[in-house]
């Protein structure tokens, strides 16, 4: 009898050890990156975040153009993807009959399974030429007086990155939004319908109930967009400039790492790139933690009531 109890203890401790490793891994990553970026942290301090010069030859590094590019492309993606995702989520949770819901959500999820590199390939050979030859000339012709649409139709640039990112984050926002909406009790809908509300009026109430959860889903989508690398690198144009125009090439934190890390020659260069990875890490962790907490508390609230 005694032996079996020891066995249980050993087995349980082993599983705890591995579970703890998963937990510790996040801290290990943070620690390693802080250590790796020590050189540039010391040299540039907070100025690293506001510096606009990125000059490996002079060994001077400032990350602002990349931070700007990441935020701009991600927000653009959000502007495109959010309304569509909410529409998809409403369809899946409120409108679609069950036989249709399953295959449609599967198709949307399949979109998330396509690797970033394939999106990038499609971006280079299909999306970018289309933007360059069709969309951007028209945009310039009709809205060229706005700073947002000033410039030359390169194809490669913020707009292309925003569109690709929008396609890529749509599945995650819509599937989590769907889960959020489905977690809202049926009684809410029944009450509204019983009072004579139309389907849309009912949906409005459900959306209101799920507001915080939808915010969480949005933040998760934003987190995904911020860290997306290959597709963005292949279409954003890779020029470290801050421009107000959507048509101009830009750069992002992830894409500068992807482009330059393997070729970084000096220690300061590598260290600066690691610091960019650290910023990216911190940004995505913050977005994810806030988003997960919101989504968790939201679904829990409705589960217990």
């Amino acid at each position: 009898m005694k032996i079996s109890i020891t066995g249980d203890k050993v087995f349980k401790s082993t599983t705890i050890l591995f579970a703890f490793f998963v937990f510790a891994l996040v801290f290990l990553m943070a620690y390693e990156m802080v250590r790796g970026s020590e050189l540039s942290l010391k040299q540039f301090g907070w100025k690293f975040l506001t510096g606009t010069v990125w000059d490996p030859v002079a060994d001077e590094y400032g990350a602002l153009p990349f931070i700007f590019g990441t935020l701009a492309s991600s927000l653009l993606a959000l502007v495109i993807a959010l309304p569509l995702s909410i529409g998809v989520a409403v369809f899946l949770s409120e409108l679609a009959p069950r036989w249709l819901e399953r295959p449609v959500s599967f198709l949307v999820e399949l979109l998330a399974a396509i690797p970033s590199i394939v999106y990038g390939l499609w971006g280079i050979f299909v999306l970018v030429p289309w933007l360059r030859n069709t969309v951007e000339p028209d945009l310039i012709k009709s809205f060229g007086y706005l700073p947002l649409f000033k410039g030359v139709p390169y194809g490669f640039g913020m707009l292309a990155a925003g569109i690709i990112l929008a396609i890529m984050i749509l599945p995650i926002i819509s599937s989590i939004s769907r889960d959020v909406l489905q977690a809202i009790p049926k009684s809410q809908r029944e009450a509204a319908l019983a009072l004579g509300a139309t389907k849309w009026e009912t949906t409005k109430i459900v959306l209101g109930d799920g507001k915080s959860g939808l915010l969480g889903a949005t933040l998760l989508g934003l987190g995904r967009a911020v860290g997306e690398t290959m597709a963005v690198t292949m279409v954003i144009g890779n020029r470290s400039e801050i421009s107000a125009s959507l048509l101009d090439p830009g750069h992002s934190m992830a894409s500068v790492i992807a482009n330059e890390f393997a070729e970084a020659t000096t220690d300061m260069y590598t260290s600066s790139l690691i610091e960019i990875a650290l910023i990216l890490f911190a940004l995505t962790i913050i977005l994810n933690v806030i988003a997960r907490l919101i989504v968790w508390s939201m679904t829990k609230k409705f589960k217990t009531t």
Partner: protein
């Protein structure tokens, strides 16, 4: 008065119709890129595929033809290494979460797997670079394997947990009732029962890792030659696509599409299998 009520009713109904149509429209817009990308890749990729493509090595720069045999082999080795690092951690952590994880620590670990899944793969690549490439003073397949292993952990851990939880309680009770210690019941009864589900979950994690490019760029790097040495740079399907997509040769672009097609087909097969195997069980469990 009555007329106004009627008008208002009409107005509300029209709004309802408009919003419903908008919702359906957004589904259509959302799904269009899936078909566009899939069929475009199919159309472009299929012409690049032939026996040479799978069995031959890349030709020197400027020559047409050749294949990606080294990249296929490289991806297989990298994934193997990833499994070696990632799966033991994921499976044991998943067992912990399912069997003992109903407490604050379990909740925390679950939360951290979610957070881990949100960390960009390029950041994981940087960490693998610091942990493996720097001490070894060389780009290597080993470093790429570590990166892929870390990336597999969230999916593999959570599916292992889910699948173990799906095993009926009566199995465990029956095992315990005849005096089998709990750990043996877990390893010999529960795990084999959940094995089918866990395997497909692991395949899903593998499929995702197979499509990763960013973490390989400065760990496994890439290699135009045949190599099975995990201490040295190694080719992979995804880095192959990246290099060939950027190249100014039509034939290389064509081969990039071919490789993308192979990748997409592999990933879709795994995803559809996962859907099929877990259909009903997994879905109903969630609802």
């Amino acid at each position: 008065m009555k007329n106004r009520d009627f008008k208002k009713h009409h107005w509300r109904k029209s709004i309802n119709t408009i919003m419903t149509s908008l919702s359906i429209l957004s589904v259509l817009i959302a799904v269009i890129p899936l078909f566009l990308i899939f069929f475009y890749t199919l159309a472009q990729g299929i012409s690049a595929l032939n026996i040479d493509f799978f069995l031959h090595m890349p030709k020197p720069v400027g020559e047409n033809g050749g294949g990606m045999a080294n990249a296929l082999m490289g991806t297989a080795i990298l994934i193997g290494l990833g499994c070696l690092f990632g799966l033991p951690i994921s499976i044991f952590a998943g067992i912990y979460l399912a069997e003992y994880g109903n407490n604050a620590f379990g909740q925390t670990v679950r939360f951290f797997t979610d957070v881990l899944s949100g960390i960009p793969s390029i950041v994981v690549g940087v960490v693998a670079y610091i942990l493996v490439v720097v001490p070894m003073k060389q780009f290597s397949a080993l470093a790429g394997g570590v990166a892929l292993g870390i990336l597999m952990i969230p999916t593999a851990t959570r599916t292992t947990e889910e699948m173990i939880k799906l095993v009926p309680h009566s199995y465990r009770e029956a095992a315990l009732a005849i005096g089998i210690p709990q750990w043996k019941a877990t390893l010999r009864i529960i795990l084999p029962t959940a094995l089918k589900g866990i395997t497909t979950g692991v395949l899903l994690a593998i499929a995702r890792a197979a499509g990763e490019t960013a973490p390989l760029l400065f760990t496994a790097l890439g290699n135009r030659f045949w190599s099975t040495d995990i201490g040295h740079p190694m080719a992979s399907l995804t880095v192959f696509i990246y290099d060939y997509a950027k190249a100014p040769f039509d034939d290389w672009n064509r081969q990039a599409w071919g490789a993308a097609f192979v990748l997409i087909v592999l990933i879709f097969i795994v995803n559809i299998t996962f859907r099929f195997v877990t259909r009903g069980r997994y879905g109903d469990h969630q609802n």
